[in-house]
Symmetry: C2
Subunit: 178 residues, 2 copies
Protein backbone atom coordinates (compact mmCIF):
# COMPACT_ATOMS: atom_id res chain seq x y z
CA UNK A 1 0.00 0.00 0.00
CA UNK A 2 1.29 3.46 -0.90
CA UNK A 3 1.04 5.45 2.33
CA UNK A 4 2.25 8.76 0.88
CA UNK A 5 0.50 11.97 1.96
CA UNK A 6 0.70 14.76 -0.61
CA UNK A 7 1.06 18.46 0.08
CA UNK A 8 -1.96 20.59 -0.84
CA UNK A 9 -1.45 23.85 1.01
CA UNK A 10 0.21 25.52 3.99
CA UNK A 11 -0.70 27.93 6.73
CA UNK A 12 2.34 29.45 8.45
CA UNK A 13 1.61 30.01 12.15
CA UNK A 14 4.81 30.87 14.00
CA UNK A 15 8.45 31.65 13.23
CA UNK A 16 10.39 31.63 16.48
CA UNK A 17 13.95 31.69 17.72
CA UNK A 18 14.18 27.89 17.73
CA UNK A 19 11.02 26.36 16.26
CA UNK A 20 8.59 27.19 13.47
CA UNK A 21 5.05 25.92 13.25
CA UNK A 22 2.91 25.43 10.16
CA UNK A 23 -0.27 23.53 9.38
CA UNK A 24 -0.33 21.71 6.07
CA UNK A 25 -3.31 20.33 4.25
CA UNK A 26 -2.46 16.95 2.74
CA UNK A 27 -4.14 14.39 0.54
CA UNK A 28 -4.39 10.98 2.20
CA UNK A 29 -3.97 7.62 0.42
CA UNK A 30 -7.79 7.32 0.13
CA UNK A 31 -8.08 10.74 -1.55
CA UNK A 32 -9.48 12.52 1.49
CA UNK A 33 -7.70 15.51 2.96
CA UNK A 34 -6.33 16.01 6.47
CA UNK A 35 -4.40 18.62 8.42
CA UNK A 36 -0.85 18.05 9.63
CA UNK A 37 0.53 20.25 12.41
CA UNK A 38 4.28 20.38 11.87
CA UNK A 39 6.92 21.95 14.07
CA UNK A 40 10.17 22.67 12.27
CA UNK A 41 13.35 22.47 14.30
CA UNK A 42 16.97 22.91 13.16
CA UNK A 43 17.93 19.49 14.52
CA UNK A 44 21.10 18.84 16.37
CA UNK A 45 23.55 16.44 17.93
CA UNK A 46 24.05 14.38 21.07
CA UNK A 47 27.49 13.30 22.26
CA UNK A 48 28.37 10.29 24.39
CA UNK A 49 31.83 11.35 25.62
CA UNK A 50 33.52 8.49 27.52
CA UNK A 51 36.82 9.10 29.28
CA UNK A 52 39.64 6.57 29.75
CA UNK A 53 38.18 5.52 33.11
CA UNK A 54 34.84 4.62 31.50
CA UNK A 55 33.04 7.67 32.85
CA UNK A 56 30.53 9.59 30.74
CA UNK A 57 30.27 13.39 30.72
CA UNK A 58 26.74 14.42 31.65
CA UNK A 59 25.18 17.87 31.85
CA UNK A 60 22.32 18.89 34.07
CA UNK A 61 20.12 21.73 32.89
CA UNK A 62 16.71 23.08 33.69
CA UNK A 63 14.11 21.88 31.23
CA UNK A 64 11.38 24.44 31.51
CA UNK A 65 8.87 22.38 29.49
CA UNK A 66 9.05 19.72 32.23
CA UNK A 67 9.68 22.05 35.19
CA UNK A 68 12.70 20.05 36.28
CA UNK A 69 16.46 19.91 35.99
CA UNK A 70 17.46 16.89 33.89
CA UNK A 71 20.71 15.01 33.41
CA UNK A 72 21.51 14.48 29.72
CA UNK A 73 24.45 13.84 27.46
CA UNK A 74 25.93 17.04 25.97
CA UNK A 75 23.88 18.17 22.99
CA UNK A 76 23.12 21.16 20.87
CA UNK A 77 21.39 22.58 17.85
CA UNK A 78 22.93 22.75 14.39
CA UNK A 79 23.62 26.08 12.77
CA UNK A 80 22.11 26.32 9.28
CA UNK A 81 24.00 24.09 6.85
CA UNK A 82 26.49 22.93 9.47
CA UNK A 83 27.92 19.42 9.33
CA UNK A 84 26.71 17.46 12.39
CA UNK A 85 30.27 16.55 13.39
CA UNK A 86 31.20 20.25 13.47
CA UNK A 87 28.20 20.91 15.74
CA UNK A 88 29.18 18.00 17.95
CA UNK A 89 32.78 19.18 18.39
CA UNK A 90 31.62 22.72 19.20
CA UNK A 91 28.93 21.65 21.67
CA UNK A 92 31.19 19.24 23.54
CA UNK A 93 33.75 21.98 23.89
CA UNK A 94 31.24 24.67 24.89
CA UNK A 95 29.16 22.62 27.30
CA UNK A 96 31.73 20.47 29.09
CA UNK A 97 35.06 21.94 27.93
CA UNK A 98 36.24 18.73 26.32
CA UNK A 99 37.95 17.97 23.02
CA UNK A 100 38.18 14.45 21.62
CA UNK A 101 40.70 12.59 19.46
CA UNK A 102 38.22 10.07 18.08
CA UNK A 103 34.66 10.62 16.90
CA UNK A 104 32.42 7.66 16.04
CA UNK A 105 29.00 8.22 14.41
CA UNK A 106 26.25 6.43 16.37
CA UNK A 107 23.42 6.95 13.90
CA UNK A 108 20.52 9.33 13.63
CA UNK A 109 17.57 9.70 15.95
CA UNK A 110 14.07 10.99 15.25
CA UNK A 111 12.77 11.93 18.71
CA UNK A 112 9.08 12.23 17.81
CA UNK A 113 8.13 11.53 14.18
CA UNK A 114 4.48 12.62 14.32
CA UNK A 115 4.61 16.41 14.49
CA UNK A 116 8.13 17.40 15.51
CA UNK A 117 10.55 17.61 12.57
CA UNK A 118 13.71 17.33 14.66
CA UNK A 119 16.51 14.98 13.67
CA UNK A 120 19.49 14.30 15.93
CA UNK A 121 22.90 12.92 15.02
CA UNK A 122 24.54 10.88 17.76
CA UNK A 123 28.28 10.54 18.24
CA UNK A 124 30.63 8.75 20.59
CA UNK A 125 33.71 10.77 21.57
CA UNK A 126 36.84 9.06 22.91
CA UNK A 127 40.38 10.17 23.70
CA UNK A 128 39.19 13.17 25.71
CA UNK A 129 41.13 16.26 26.82
CA UNK A 130 39.75 18.69 29.38
CA UNK A 131 39.68 22.47 28.79
CA UNK A 132 37.43 25.39 29.68
CA UNK A 133 33.66 25.49 29.16
CA UNK A 134 31.91 28.24 27.18
CA UNK A 135 28.16 27.82 27.60
CA UNK A 136 25.76 30.12 25.75
CA UNK A 137 24.63 33.26 27.61
CA UNK A 138 21.24 31.83 28.57
CA UNK A 139 22.54 28.31 29.24
CA UNK A 140 23.13 27.27 32.85
CA UNK A 141 24.69 23.86 33.28
CA UNK A 142 26.09 21.54 35.90
CA UNK A 143 28.64 19.06 34.54
CA UNK A 144 29.38 15.67 36.03
CA UNK A 145 31.15 12.45 35.11
CA UNK A 146 29.17 9.26 35.70
CA UNK A 147 30.55 5.70 35.50
CA UNK A 148 29.19 4.04 32.34
CA UNK A 149 27.69 1.06 34.17
CA UNK A 150 25.88 3.35 36.61
CA UNK A 151 24.54 5.42 33.72
CA UNK A 152 23.34 2.41 31.76
CA UNK A 153 21.51 1.16 34.87
CA UNK A 154 19.85 4.57 35.24
CA UNK A 155 18.73 4.36 31.59
CA UNK A 156 17.36 0.83 31.99
CA UNK A 157 15.57 1.62 35.26
CA UNK A 158 13.76 4.63 33.77
CA UNK A 159 15.53 7.09 36.07
CA UNK A 160 16.94 8.78 32.96
CA UNK A 161 14.15 9.50 30.49
CA UNK A 162 15.80 11.74 27.90
CA UNK A 163 15.57 9.90 24.57
CA UNK A 164 18.95 10.86 23.09
CA UNK A 165 20.72 9.90 26.33
CA UNK A 166 18.97 6.53 26.65
CA UNK A 167 19.55 5.69 22.98
CA UNK A 168 23.23 6.67 22.99
CA UNK A 169 23.94 4.80 26.22
CA UNK A 170 22.05 1.62 25.32
CA UNK A 171 23.55 1.55 21.81
CA UNK A 172 27.01 1.91 23.35
CA UNK A 173 26.22 -0.80 25.91
CA UNK A 174 25.36 -3.21 23.10
CA UNK A 175 28.25 -2.12 20.87
CA UNK A 176 30.86 -2.25 23.63
CA UNK A 177 29.48 -5.47 25.10
CA UNK A 178 29.04 -3.96 28.58
Amino acid sequence: MDLTETFVGRQDIFDGRIVKLHVDTVTLPDGNTALREIIDHPGGVGILAIDDEDRVFMVQQYRYAFAQAMWEIPAGKREAGEEPLVTAKRELQEEVGVTAERWLPMGELIPSPGCYAERLYLFMARGLTMGDTHPDDDEFLTVSRVPFTELSQACLSGEIQDAKTVVAVLKAKAMLGR
Copy 2:
Protein backbone atom coordinates in the same frame (compact mmCIF):
# COMPACT_ATOMS: atom_id res chain seq x y z
CA MET B 1 23.63 25.66 41.68
CA ASP B 2 19.87 26.23 41.49
CA LEU B 3 19.05 25.99 37.78
CA THR B 4 15.34 26.80 38.11
CA GLU B 5 13.75 29.10 35.53
CA THR B 6 10.72 30.98 36.84
CA PHE B 7 7.58 31.87 34.90
CA VAL B 8 7.06 35.58 34.24
CA GLY B 9 4.49 35.72 31.44
CA ARG B 10 2.95 33.82 28.56
CA GLN B 11 2.00 34.50 24.95
CA ASP B 12 -0.37 31.88 23.54
CA ILE B 13 0.36 31.31 19.86
CA PHE B 14 -1.52 28.26 18.60
CA ASP B 15 -4.14 25.80 19.82
CA GLY B 16 -4.33 22.92 17.35
CA ARG B 17 -5.82 19.49 17.01
CA ILE B 18 -2.73 17.81 18.51
CA VAL B 19 -0.25 20.45 19.67
CA LYS B 20 -0.38 23.85 21.32
CA LEU B 21 2.38 26.43 21.19
CA HIS B 22 3.12 29.20 23.66
CA VAL B 23 6.09 31.44 24.34
CA ASP B 24 6.89 32.04 27.98
CA THR B 25 9.11 34.70 29.45
CA VAL B 26 11.20 33.24 32.28
CA THR B 27 13.66 34.50 34.84
CA LEU B 28 17.04 32.75 34.57
CA PRO B 29 19.26 31.78 37.53
CA ASP B 30 21.31 34.98 37.04
CA GLY B 31 18.19 37.19 37.19
CA ASN B 32 18.06 37.91 33.46
CA THR B 33 15.01 37.02 31.43
CA ALA B 34 14.72 34.73 28.41
CA LEU B 35 12.02 33.39 26.10
CA ARG B 36 11.04 29.71 26.04
CA GLU B 37 9.16 28.36 23.03
CA ILE B 38 7.09 25.45 24.34
CA ILE B 39 4.98 23.02 22.37
CA ASP B 40 2.37 21.23 24.46
CA HIS B 41 1.45 17.70 23.43
CA PRO B 42 -0.96 15.26 25.12
CA GLY B 43 1.77 12.62 25.39
CA GLY B 44 1.19 9.00 24.71
CA VAL B 45 2.36 5.43 24.78
CA GLY B 46 4.57 3.03 22.85
CA ILE B 47 4.05 -0.73 23.00
CA LEU B 48 6.64 -3.45 22.41
CA ALA B 49 4.36 -6.41 21.69
CA ILE B 50 6.36 -9.65 21.45
CA ASP B 51 4.63 -12.85 20.38
CA ASP B 52 5.48 -16.37 21.55
CA GLU B 53 7.86 -16.82 18.61
CA ASP B 54 9.88 -13.76 19.65
CA ARG B 55 8.50 -11.57 16.87
CA VAL B 56 7.62 -7.92 17.45
CA PHE B 57 4.55 -6.23 15.99
CA MET B 58 5.61 -3.20 13.95
CA VAL B 59 3.52 -0.63 12.12
CA GLN B 60 4.56 1.35 9.10
CA GLN B 61 2.98 4.75 8.59
CA TYR B 62 3.71 7.83 6.58
CA ARG B 63 5.42 10.49 8.65
CA TYR B 64 4.67 13.68 6.79
CA ALA B 65 7.18 15.73 8.81
CA PHE B 66 9.96 13.53 7.39
CA ALA B 67 8.35 12.79 3.99
CA GLN B 68 8.81 9.06 4.48
CA ALA B 69 7.02 5.94 5.64
CA MET B 70 8.60 4.74 8.89
CA TRP B 71 8.47 1.44 10.78
CA GLU B 72 7.69 1.95 14.46
CA ILE B 73 6.28 0.07 17.41
CA PRO B 74 2.52 0.63 17.89
CA ALA B 75 1.89 3.91 19.67
CA GLY B 76 -0.73 6.52 20.26
CA LYS B 77 -1.76 9.64 22.06
CA ARG B 78 -3.45 9.72 25.44
CA GLU B 79 -6.96 11.03 25.81
CA ALA B 80 -7.22 13.70 28.51
CA GLY B 81 -6.81 12.16 31.96
CA GLU B 82 -6.47 8.63 30.62
CA GLU B 83 -4.24 6.12 32.39
CA PRO B 84 -1.30 5.25 30.09
CA LEU B 85 -2.05 1.51 30.36
CA VAL B 86 -5.59 2.12 29.10
CA THR B 87 -4.19 4.06 26.14
CA ALA B 88 -1.70 1.27 25.46
CA LYS B 89 -4.35 -1.45 25.44
CA ARG B 90 -6.56 0.59 23.11
CA GLU B 91 -3.79 1.51 20.70
CA LEU B 92 -2.45 -2.03 20.44
CA GLN B 93 -5.94 -3.25 19.68
CA GLU B 94 -6.72 -0.46 17.19
CA GLU B 95 -3.44 -0.42 15.33
CA VAL B 96 -2.50 -4.09 15.12
CA GLY B 97 -5.63 -5.87 16.37
CA VAL B 98 -3.87 -7.52 19.28
CA THR B 99 -4.81 -8.01 22.93
CA ALA B 100 -2.28 -9.06 25.56
CA GLU B 101 -2.43 -11.09 28.78
CA ARG B 102 0.58 -9.45 30.39
CA TRP B 103 1.61 -5.77 30.44
CA LEU B 104 5.00 -4.72 31.82
CA PRO B 105 5.81 -1.01 32.29
CA MET B 106 9.10 -0.13 30.55
CA GLY B 107 9.49 3.38 31.94
CA GLU B 108 8.84 6.85 30.63
CA LEU B 109 10.50 8.61 27.72
CA ILE B 110 10.96 12.32 27.08
CA PRO B 111 11.61 12.48 23.34
CA SER B 112 12.95 16.03 23.18
CA PRO B 113 13.19 17.93 26.48
CA GLY B 114 14.08 21.36 25.09
CA CYS B 115 10.87 22.66 23.54
CA TYR B 116 8.55 19.69 23.08
CA ALA B 117 6.52 18.84 26.18
CA GLU B 118 5.68 15.28 25.13
CA ARG B 119 6.07 12.38 27.55
CA LEU B 120 5.69 8.77 26.45
CA TYR B 121 4.98 5.71 28.57
CA LEU B 122 6.52 2.50 27.24
CA PHE B 123 5.08 -0.97 27.80
CA MET B 124 5.96 -4.51 26.91
CA ALA B 125 2.99 -6.69 25.98
CA ARG B 126 3.20 -10.50 26.13
CA GLY B 127 0.72 -13.35 25.79
CA LEU B 128 -0.77 -11.94 22.60
CA THR B 129 -4.07 -12.79 20.90
CA MET B 130 -4.87 -11.64 17.36
CA GLY B 131 -8.13 -9.90 16.44
CA ASP B 132 -9.28 -7.19 14.04
CA THR B 133 -7.66 -3.77 13.62
CA HIS B 134 -9.56 -0.50 13.97
CA PRO B 135 -7.27 2.34 12.87
CA ASP B 136 -8.46 5.94 13.13
CA ASP B 137 -10.11 7.39 10.02
CA ASP B 138 -7.05 9.34 8.91
CA GLU B 139 -4.58 6.65 9.93
CA PHE B 140 -3.16 4.37 7.23
CA LEU B 141 -0.96 1.58 8.49
CA THR B 142 0.91 -1.48 7.33
CA VAL B 143 1.45 -4.08 10.05
CA SER B 144 4.29 -6.59 10.15
CA ARG B 145 5.91 -8.98 12.61
CA VAL B 146 9.71 -8.77 12.83
CA PRO B 147 11.98 -11.22 14.67
CA PHE B 148 13.32 -9.54 17.82
CA THR B 149 16.99 -10.12 16.95
CA GLU B 150 16.49 -8.62 13.48
CA LEU B 151 14.75 -5.61 14.98
CA SER B 152 17.41 -5.03 17.61
CA GLN B 153 20.07 -5.15 14.86
CA ALA B 154 18.10 -2.56 12.88
CA CYS B 155 17.98 -0.33 15.98
CA LEU B 156 21.71 -0.69 16.63
CA SER B 157 22.68 -0.10 12.98
CA GLY B 158 20.69 3.14 12.77
CA GLU B 159 18.28 1.74 10.18
CA ILE B 160 15.47 2.37 12.66
CA GLN B 161 15.65 5.94 13.97
CA ASP B 162 12.37 6.38 15.83
CA ALA B 163 13.27 7.13 19.46
CA LYS B 164 10.47 5.20 21.21
CA THR B 165 11.15 2.12 19.06
CA VAL B 166 14.91 2.17 19.64
CA VAL B 167 14.52 2.75 23.38
CA ALA B 168 11.88 0.02 23.85
CA VAL B 169 13.86 -2.51 21.81
CA LEU B 170 17.25 -1.82 23.40
CA LYS B 171 15.77 -1.79 26.90
CA ALA B 172 14.13 -5.15 26.18
CA LYS B 173 17.38 -6.49 24.73
CA ALA B 174 19.20 -5.65 27.95
CA MET B 175 16.36 -6.80 30.22
CA LEU B 176 15.81 -10.09 28.39
CA GLY B 177 19.54 -10.70 27.95
CA ARG B 178 19.26 -11.06 24.16
